[in-house]
Symmetry: C2
């Protein structure tokens, strides 16, 4: 698989890079970002995927989350995919920040026209890791996943669905019950049609009830988050984990909102959570 | 002086805010950002101004430099001004990233039409600190200044010219000899006319030769910076400081470029440099 290097920048003794690959899953080129910690010069290192939220790109977390400092300390590689295919030309794919480009919801769409290109689950779980393994010193046996908002939904659902791929998971302000909230119902209806059994395959609450992840999950949530009550409802995931016997640390932070100042404040704890689980 | 709150975000136990004020110096409204560390709830704290570079705004360092974590640890307030007045409507004020809006060079222009609004020295040194003192728990007697590129030029020149205002100074990849390099010659010619004695009032090398700052200066420079040889030439400042007996720590970093991944990698050292000098 060929890889186009867009830019690379020294950062905390490692390298923050931006790349483009040909994506069979998404029917076009896809961008992604990788942070290689200094330890990657000496051999393969564990990898943490960070899935961004609505409207974001592969650049957002690289620029705003401040994760590289602790990744350099812990020897973690960071991989940051884009949030959807781009320049699809589909009617309705742009102009709505909750759906389409920038809002891929980390699933493989089943409905035309979306099903030909909006296949972010295949891209993130299978295709991108193969490229990362080929071109970067990543240890695929030690892979974790985290994300924010729609990307927190992605991290939780992909980890629970693909436990052979991910040994650790966490999330910031995730959508946990997309079948029940406006963001999820709107996107799932268009990407997946009116098949509610299929919807449940992409709903963290439904998934964890059926098959817990096993290892402890860390979730941070700001209590001044304007999407807390309408879209996020972390108490649903708390209840589902309790029912399923899934270990969950859900931290509620007074005063914090939905943005990257919240993420930056707590990213260190997430990286340490993953590094600990990827070490053994 | 009235202050308009644009947004505020909890961040590392403190508050990252964005504000707008009426500016007499710049003949219109000016935006700025302030990070209040948690210690600011208990009383006045020392303040560090961060001056951004060409094309940047008051948001750039707040979003990309990753300074809040260490500011929260050290109890430093951060103040981030915009880089020029905005929406001036002057011919030539937009469309050129090296001059005009986004490129105020932290001086008071003397040439029409710029002289009516491009008065960033007055804004940063006098007007903005008065607003900060009135609306935030800042201790004006303990103020430091740093900056990047054009903002590094601003930090060095303003500190040397106004030692009663600033007790500490540092810079990232600063323009140190604007009278000698293309960025400076272009901007100074238009803002200040053909008066080279006036130009020297805004040239860090010329200023330090005449009147050293006294306290140690810290400068970081990446050796993969594409502007190093044409625009920055830190060896000129090194020589001027040596002549003047000015203590300078100039650190050259192999592989680092001109961007914020470079700044983020070393911002911690700058905040500690300032906190130490502002503590006594």
């Amino acid at each position: 698989m060929t890889l186009e290097r867009l830019s690379e920048h020294a950062c905390f003794g490692g390298l923050q890079g931006f790349y483009r690959m040909d994506s069979a899953a998404c029917g076009g080129s896809m961008r992604f970002a990788v942070y290689q910690p200094p330890q990657a010069r000496a051999g393969r290192v564990p990898v943490l995927y960070f899935l961004a939220g609505l409207t974001c790109t592969e650049e957002t977390a690289a620029m705003k989350a401040g994760a590289q400092r602790v990744a350099a300390e812990l020897g973690l590689m960071l991989v940051m995919p884009d949030t959807s295919p781009r320049e699809t030309g589909f009617d309705g794919a742009t102009g709505d920040w909750e759906f389409g480009e920038g809002a891929g919801f980390y699933l493989d769409a089943t409905q035309a026209p979306w099903s030909s290109r909006f296949r972010m689950e295949s891209h993130v779980v299978h295709e991108l890791p193969a490229v990362v393994r080929e071109h970067f010193p990543a240890d695929p046996g030690r892979t974790g996943i985290t994300g924010h908002s729609m990307g927190g939904h992605g991290a939780l659902t992909l980890a629970i669905k693909h436990p052979q791929q991910y040994r650790s998971v966490s999330a910031f302000a995730p959508i946990v019950a997309p079948c029940e909230v406006p963001w999820g119902r709107k996107a799932f209806g268009r990407y997946l049609g009116d098949h509610h059994a299929v919807w449940a395959e992409h709903d963290a609450c439904a998934l964890v009830r059926r098959r817990p992840f096993g290892r402890p999950i860390l979730v941070d949530q700001g209590l001044a988050d304007k999407f807390l009550e309408t879209q996020l409802q972390p108490e649903r995931f708390e209840a589902a984990c309790a029912e399923a016997g899934q270990s969950l640390t859900l931290r509620r932070h007074a005063g914090y909102d939905h943005g990257y100042y919240f993420i930056a404040s707590f990213i260190q704890d997430h990286l340490r959570h993953h590094a600990a689980q990827l070490a053994d």
